[in-house]
């Protein structure tokens, strides 16, 4: 101890350096707990089960996409097109469910012209999958950077959504369809269950399968992965397919929850989704990150927004806060990294 003291700042610094990896690993979880304590003190209604489930339901749509985004960012990629693709998928699901683009709360919901929720869900997922596949091809075959491809996708898919729903939102679904967005199993909202189930599957895939290892390897060091016999192109293509598929599923769930599909659905989702993943500790440089982190990151953003709403904070301040937190987290990531390299 005296020796430690004698070395003074030197020792403190090395202790700090030793703590850094731990800190960067559990920082999101610690932040979340602290935030919840603060909100609970300032606004006791925050901790009511009703409110907590509400928070979870609100994050479940973006959370689903964030799971996919974790795969993408683990390979050092990015997908900006998720919100637009979600809108297209939601509209396709609605059209299938209704059997037409008719946009009304008319009785058609129960007239049996449509094809039912299952076909609708499959359609939404297929649309997302196809969108992701095409973008993945552009990235791996045409060698266009993911940022550019998906920025293009952001615009293309939104345009498609606007074309599809030229006659306005498609609303009014039957009971079984709406259950996927509004139903509950016990006290737990269905979207929350979908989110958690998908998260669990993704966790297992990343942690315990050969494929998961290869995703980390490609993101950690692309050249080393290639020279180790990993089919880098296939892995890259697959992560865009996964996020497309999940965007499609999210589109279906959102349309069920709102009982309506519209062209402007999912506008700006990319921001919150990327923020959740990055705040959850996944490095934008690839190779580092976990599904657990992403789930925590998603909840953290949800809690933040919810708490600020309960406290009647100006909604614009929410946006400012999320933006600032995002930058702060990446700054910390960089700092921890530079420390480790020294």
């Amino acid at each position: 101890m005296t020796e430690l003291a004698a070395r003074g700042p030197e020792a403190a610094r090395s202790a700090f350096a030793a703590l850094l990896p731990l800190l960067s690993r559990y920082a999101p979880a610690v932040c979340l707990v602290l935030l919840m304590i603060v909100f609970a003190i300032l606004e006791p209604s925050f901790l009511s089960p009703l409110n907590l489930f509400n928070v979870m339901r609100q994050i479940s749509i973006e959370g689903l996409i964030a799971i996919g985004m974790t795969f993408v960012i683990l390979t050092a990629g990015i997908d900006l097109s998720v919100g637009s693709l979600l809108a297209v998928a939601g509209l396709v699901a609605a059209m299938i469910a209704k059997g037409s683009t008719a946009s009304s709360f008319s009785l058609s919901a129960s007239t049996g012209q449509g094809y039912g929720w299952f076909a609708a869900m499959l359609g939404a997922v297929a649309v997302g999958l196809a969108g992701g596949f095409v973008q993945g091809l552009a990235i791996t075959r045409l060698k266009v950077p993911p940022f550019v491809v998906t920025l293009g996708g952001l615009s293309v898919f939104r345009g498609m959504a606007l074309m599809i729903s030229a006659s306005g939102p498609i609303s009014g679904f039957d009971e079984p369809y709406r259950w996927w967005g509004q139903g509950r199993i016990g006290p737990v909202p269905v979207p929350v269950i979908i989110f958690l189930v998908v998260a669990a599957v993704a966790f297992v895939v990343l942690r315990y399968t050969r494929y998961g290892r290869q995703v980390y390897a490609v993101g950690g060091n692309r050249e080393a992965a290639r020279l180790s016999g990993v089919n880098v192109r296939r892995i890259l293509l697959s992560v865009y397919v996964i996020i497309g598929l999940l965007s499609g599923l999210a589109g279906f769930v959102l349309s069920a929850r709102l009982n309506s599909s519209e062209a402007v659905a999912g506008m700006g989702y990319e921001l919150n989704v990327i923020a959740s993943v990055v705040i959850g500790g996944t490095s934008l440089f690839g190779g580092v990150g976990t599904i657990f982190g992403t789930v925590v990151g998603s909840i953290l953003i949800g809690v933040l927004i919810n708490g600020l709403v309960l406290m009647d904070v100006n909604p614009y301040v929410q946006q400012i806060t999320i933006g600032l937190i995002l930058v702060a987290v990446v700054a910390f990531d960089q700092f921890a990294k530079s420390r480790r390299l020294k």
Binding site: R210, Y211, A224, L227, G287
Partner: protein, 522 residues
């Protein structure tokens, strides 16, 4: 003898675990071309970096024109008139020639650049070098040789007194080399000194006035070209004495059948990698149980050969047979499937996932063999694999979950070796297997290579250290400028014989041909 322009005295530089330079002195006269010679790792680059201000010496002095210099950063050296041109140039490819020549010193007023003056000044400099390059062209559109000329133009525009060139000819065509030599003579005529770092002895004999030879971080000789001949330099460069912890036991064992047969490998210029050495008609065989050493100086094409066989780079022509079967390798995936492995030369950039755990690094290539069910990896099988190689190779790590970045260089290299051992390839290529690891770990790696060969693997070992090549190989082939220049059995091979084959063009065996074309009239 004229008073030296540059005098570096007793320069010492120590890196963790290595004495890179040991009281090295270098004197350069005004208006001379001075050759700096030495094997790979002799300390040339370190000395260069000290002269250019990139490194600070631990001891020693640098005098320029009688004035003592303290060079804290590259800018200090440039300001004093010492400009270094590195192998990988320091140009901004997306900017024009003129902008690059005057980068940071653009003529103009206040914050505004005068494009007219920038262009005129550049034309002036280029004309002094008798170069016909459009100053408004983008550097990325120039050939490697032209880019080098732009670097020289920049050096000239800075009123430099000494231009240091690191391996300036390694990526040039013959005509480009001629042009470079013409320009070096012109620079000399203007009173500039040129320090010329190279492996190519014949070029030294042609262009340099005096030569300094380094070996193992020490100056082992210096003298005038003409008074000393090629053989003298070779004798100085080789013969390093090194404690060899490992010597291979007698090679009485019988070699197996041919495991790898390479026939007529050629590489054309790859625009995405213009610095790569082009391979010319590479053919050789390795037998099961044999360690084939591949020796050559920097830029000889050893790494390119390895990567080409492994499918890491695109190959234009040539055929490869493994165990008597002709195979088509288009990617590392193909190579691995056919039983070829590669330990690449740069451990951190090309082999390791530094952020991932040791177990994940070790098992990445053999995940298919660790299947639990379907696509799931069996934790138990993976840990067993790690444990097996931890024991066999004595890998020191806190746990299988330790980050590979936290291991020492030697242990990291063992992890990479283990990755391939787990696959049991029939041919393993190891490129600089002991670079940057300590002597004890080196010996362990050598021992491991020996064991692997004994178990019937065919091994190709690339190394820049001749003693290492001699210690571990059954047979050694040498390369020079993309060609195979010879093959020696282990008992016939000596450092000197190898160095001859690595450094000298047999077609131009006599030193300096009397007249070499027209001098540049500048």
């Amino acid at each position: 003898m004229a008073e030296p322009l540059l005098r570096m005295e007793h320069i010492t530089k120590r890196f963790p675990g290595v004495l890179a330079l040991d009281e090295v002195s270098l004197e350069v006269l005004p208006g001379e071309a001075h050759g700096l010679l030495g094997e790979n790792g002799a300390g040339k680059s370190t000395l260069l970096k000290i002269l250019s201000g990139a490194y600070r010496p631990d001891a020693g002095t640098i005098e320029l024109g009688g004035e003592q210099l303290v060079l804290e950063r590259p800018f200090d050296a440039q300001r004093r008139g010492i400009v270094t041109i590195y192998q990988e140039f320091n140009l901004i490819p997306t900017m024009t020639v003129a902008e690059n020549v005057f980068l940071g010193r653009e003529p103009g007023r206040g914050p505004f650049v005068s494009w007219a003056r920038l262009r005129d000044e550049t034309v002036k400099v280029l004309r002094r070098l008798a170069l016909d390059i459009d100053p408004m062209m983008l550097v990325s559109d120039l050939s490697v040789g032209e880019q080098q000329m732009v670097e020289i133009a920049r050096a000239l525009s800075m009123d430099s007194r000494i231009i240091v060139m690191d391996e300036p000819t390694s990526a040039l065509s013959e005509q480009e080399v001629e042009r470079l030599f013409r320009i070096i003579r012109a620079l000399k005529a203007r009173g500039l000194s040129v320090v010329f770092v190279t492996h190519r002895l014949q070029e030294v004999m042609r262009i340099c006035d005096r030569v300094t030879v380094l070996r193992d971080g020490r100056r082992v000789g210096a003298g005038k070209v003409g008074e000393l001949v090629v053989d003298d330099f070779i004798k100085m460069m080789v013969g390093r004495s090194r404690t060899q912890l490992f010597t291979r036991l007698g090679d009485h064992r019988a070699l197996g059948p041919v495991a790898l047969k390479v026939d007529g490998l050629w590489h054309d210029r790859d625009p995405s990698n213009p610095h790569a050495t082009l391979l010319k008609d590479i053919s050789f065989e390795v037998r099961a149980g044999e360690i084939l050493g591949l020796a050559g100086l920097m830029g000889a094409g050893r790494t390119e050969t390895a990567r080409s066989i492994f499918g890491a780079d695109r190959r234009q022509r040539g055929s490869i047979e493994v165990n008597g079967r002709k195979i088509d390798i288009r990617s590392p995936v193909d190579a691995i499937r056919h039983g070829i492995g590669l330990v690449p030369e740069d451990r951190k950039q090309q082999a390791l996932f530094l952020e991932l755990a040791v177990r994940h690094n070790l098992a990445i290539s053999s995940l298919g063999n660790l299947r639990l069910a379907g696509c799931f990896v069996s934790d138990a099988a993976e840990l067993e694999l790690v444990e097996r190689f931890r024991k066999a190779l004595d890998i020191r790590m806190a746990s299988p979950d330790a980050k590979v970045a936290d291991l020492s260089g030697g242990n990291q290299q063992k992890v990479v070796l283990a990755r391939w051992l787990a696959l049991e390839p029939s041919v393993l290529i190891v490129d600089e297997p002991t670079r940057g690891i300590d002597i004890a770990a080196k010996a362990e790696v050598h021992e491991q290579l020996d064991l692997m060969a004994r178990s019937g693997m065919a091994i190709i070992a690339i190394s820049s250290e001749l003693p290492e090549v001699l210690a571990i190989s059954d047979r050694i082939i040498t390369m020079r400028e993309g060609r195979i220049t010879g093959s020696l059995a282990r008992d016939e091979a000596t450092e000197e014989a190898l160095m001859h084959m690595m450094a000298i063009d047999p077609a131009a065996a006599s030193p300096a041909p009397a007249g070499f074309g027209k001098e540049a009239g500048l």
